[in-house]
Symmetry: D2
Subunit: 361 residues, 4 copies
């Protein structure tokens, strides 16, 4: 309480204009699952004064009518009803390919900060983007984006943040400290995700009867694993060290939210195999100053991170077989998307990283 | 229909005594989940005339009272109320370590066939057993057991069948054809199992509130994976080819039944990496004569095998990373336990492998 | 076993043409959930030799491709590829309104027996049908349909069977014995259903994210309960006694299959309130000769009837409040649809009611 | 934001001692599900400075070790390690019968406020308590307790608050406005609850395999419904009007948290049957000033209130059958237990009712 007052008084004394009027935020694509989480988070954010929420499909309808669990007021509007120039922070939750154009318009239109939750600005090299996603609409902006995984790459800089994919968030957090310290020969990521990761659009894959009492691997095309988060994981890990091509196999779980990755690492020199405690130590070293990432001796459960902005990590060593196992769990909609987006906004605007996210630690 | 009549007339013409009176079966430990499945399967088996079912905890209570979904009559009895000498087939569904003594008594007491569903006779070498399970009560019987995975090792012979573990069933079926044909450098098995695999005893791990909306890796002890199915997989695969130490990481799923294994194989010579279609061909070649194992191009879903005696296999190739992926799904209580036990009994007694299991194909 | 042989020899000695070639069956609308269950049941039916399965959306595709869990061969065909005149039994699993025309064509075309799984022939009075469903396409056939709830109304007669709705099956089985014996003042049915009852079409209501970790009442229109099974329950109960207008409130459960109804009955004369044991006695009396309906002192669980053709009933008495409680559970796809349809076919063709359904008792 | 600052400055200007040091809270029985929620809520409560948490079974263990999802520090202590005289608010989450003695000790020991989450002080008449629960340990305190359902009975007064049962919370909120305005002839409450309502103790009833893919009625003893929340509902409703004996039938759902009640009301004079909109109007009238109760035309979903402190109400009218339907949904652990307890503490201490609960509206 006292801290909270101090913090507020500090703002007041700085004469910050933020405090006076509150930040203006805009959410583009607010009717998907990630958009709905953003709505909730920004509605409860102490520095955000007003949030406009667009949805092409639902414009004119009450947000609470579409998502009665949100408990917020207001209506969806058409995207062009939002004045970009007045936005301190814009969040774009469109599909891949669709997003880039909207981002460019927002930047050109004067939005103070744009957090893009699509994949459009996550891959630094246009060639890699085009191999996995097709032609990039505004390749000239690729170099301006800051990849928003602050625990690995520091607070985002500039006006454009590429918010990481949910799977890459869990993978990179677990792997980066290892990649920094060891020569890796092989990486396999066995990923498990709740259904919210598959989006709000009803189809056979997301029908309750398909998902319930079931689990299956997906993302296998013509006999090869081809999930688009693979190059993102590789590209970002290569910023911290050498990494071979990664095998990434996602599976769909009969749960609403949360992801667990069990990552198997083989080293160039099996003699370098650390103790599991060593790895926990590296995590503490690299992430100790950050509020949402922590490591523990026991493998994390999805239920320990669901509905939070946490990432929980652990490690084990299979000395018989000469392999290192890493475990990483996040909530795909929060630390894997909307929570990270707000955390990134906080950092980019010079606020505490957990502002508005305190109850999600 | 005509086939069915022909089959029956064939029995009749052979003057088989089986037909005249029906087989006598006994289930020891009939109140666990596997025991309950055995009760149901044997109650519907056309060659089984009578089944006695023991339970130390529930003796004197109606089977339907304990498992109302079974829809069978009869009462649990004490184990010693069953006359072993009169049994054509005895099924022992006790815990590991407990089972071996009961098996010995049954064999000594004159039971025609004993199918042991514990791990007690699965590991051929007593040293390996003792490393993972502790002292073996009757090591002298180890050599007499026939490992009951007929699709890989042929119909069981002799009076004692070691029914395979659920995870090893899925793993060995997927791996054996590959081990036979390629030089393998590394094997990692990511296994996912429904809660029935954790047994009927209520504890925190199986409480609905722990399992629901959750997934976690288990079997990690002091920072190392130590699931006891690991040596069983290794030992049995080494009967068909060379195999390195296997990394096995099981996870608990919020579903009632079914298992999925995603297996990652690296080869000694990456140049040997086959096409996924090649692997499907090997599966067809090796399993084409068997009724419960089939391969398909798409990764199997747990829901496609749950409540059946099927194993469904698939394969994919990650050529970028130089790895072979195998997928294997079974129902842990059926093909992974009780269904396989009945299939093994059928084969050992010279019956069709799917007798009484036709509706589970 | 001996019984089975005797049964078969009996057929043979009667020179039944059924035995010689097997029944020919046709399923119209075989790609919905009920159709898929019919495919499975008829594939395993000992008297059915061949089944043609139509689907307008999936014609030309393998049945196993659409429903990999079925484990059956064959392809979907267009409806007009099936020769109606050669069918011993046709099952129509179309939507309400669509079905009636197809039924008429089948009857005119010479199908031996038509089991209609829609609501089109369930309501005997065209006025009631039109109040709840709209215009009836072939009202002249209404009088020819036999309502297929044999435990209450006896074996169906004639060539057209109206297979009951899932909710009415559970409700009428629980209520009919009470209606026969007591003067009822008020009936409220609280019904709970798994998602398969909502159909295979993906929409927001059946999206995993809507259903999971949720329950809600549905069928409330403009502030009034208006589920179409209400008049069916009333009309059929009025064949056995006097019944007031019924309040019916269905709820959607986060499970795949099964229904539970908790029915509250008030009597004209509270002094007539029976003991719960009396009601169980009435159930035994009325249903003792039938194989799929049974009563028990404990309220039935959905899990005790799921994946079976059973109906399980129970009763309790709230003497403080002067009310009788009835509990009724069925699997909506089996006893509530496809299982009952096969049972009805069996009875209409003079076969044992449980032929091909033995493993579902 | 501005409001928040104003609110804080207001406290400061009042020189409240609360602000200076923070409230001291104690939780007795902090290792059950309700206790765990209290831990989380109080940890995030801006006026609570320190919370001691006792658990007889877990004393000495970290709270995060027992409930890793809570994300809080601290250890469980023995109850007598907490100094009652220093507590501004004590929460007792013991079982029924056990609680009363602890409450007396806390009051005698000088705790400023005691919120009892058991049933021990909910029933105002000792005779009724003893009929349903057995002998009352401290009947002399019964008269001092304030029933903590402020939306119906106003802010609690005195030092002892009886926190309502979860089912009664939902029932009384839906029924009280109707009881105030209409003459009621009959009430039936069909209640559905998630598994957290059954407690943390592992047993067969809460085993995942029992609950999953299942629903059943419970609380039926010897053929009669006998759930102990029945007299609580009756007693509290009789404070606002005349009410007949209530029929209450609970069912266990395969979800973690949340409750839905579908309540059927018959009136003395069917001519008094209101429109559903009238009932919504009464709800608005009675609850408009409160923050956690709201009504809406559509029946509430459990998912709309889960993980919140909300109660959502709706109404429908079955004019054909002459009945009024009320729908009420709450989260059993929050508005049905821990959330209400904090709300009650807030009101009793003169704080805003939603302090520390803002993100749960």
């Amino acid at each position: 309480m006292v801290n909270q007052i101090m913090q507020i008084l500090e703002y007041l004394s700085e004469g910050s204009t933020i405090c006076g009027v509150g930040l203006k935020a805009g959410i583009y694509g607010g009717s998907g699952f990630v958009g709905a989480e953003l709505v909730r988070l920004l509605a409860g954010h102490p520095e955000v004064g007003a949030t406009s929420v667009s949805s092409r499909g639902y414009a004119g309808r009450g947000i609470s009518e579409v998502y009665p669990h949100l408990g917020v007021g207001g209506e969806y509007v058409e995207p062009d009803e939002i004045d970009a120039s007045g936005l301190d922070a814009a969040f774009v939750a469109y599909g891949h390919g669709e997003s880039a154009g909207a981002v460019k318009e927002l930047l050109d239109g004067g939005a103070g900060l744009v957090v893009d939750l699509s994949a459009d600005f996550r891959l630094p090299e246009v060639e890699v983007y085009e191999e996995w996603y097709g032609e990039h609409p505004v390749p000239e902006l690729l170099g301006e984006a800051s990849y928003g995984l602050p625990e690995v790459f520091g607070a985002p800089v500039g006006r454009l943040i590429a918010n990481p994919g949910c799977y890459p968030t869990a993978a990179i957090l677990a792997l980066a400290p290892v990649v920094r310290r060891l020569q890796i020969r092989s990486v396999t990521i066995n990923a498990l995700s709740g259904v919210s990761g598959a989006g709000a659009k009803p189809d056979v894959r997301t029908h309750f009867m398909t998902v319930n009492e079931n689990v299956s691997a997906y993302g296998i095309t013509n006999g090869s694993p081809r999930h688009r988060h693979t190059p993102e994981i590789e590209a970002m890990l290569r910023r911290v060290g050498e990494v071979p091509e990664v095998t990434f196999v996602p599976h769909l779980l009969p749960i609403s939210r949360g992801e667990l990755e069990t990552i198997v690492v083989e080293l160039e020199d099996p003699g370098d195999l650390p103790e599991s405690g060593d790895v926990l130590g590296w995590y503490a070293e690299d992430y100790g100053d950050w509020k949402f990432v922590e490591a523990q001796p026991e493998p994390p459960h999805i239920s320990h991170v669901a509905n939070t902005n946490r990432a929980r990590l652990s490690a084990a060593v299979d000395r018989r077989a000469g392999k290192l196992l890493l475990f990483s769990a996040v909530d795909n909609l929060l630390k894997g998307a909307a929570g990270a987006a707000v955390q990134n906004m906080n950092l980019a605007l010079g606020l505490e990283e957990d502002l508005g996210l305190e109850h999600l630690k």
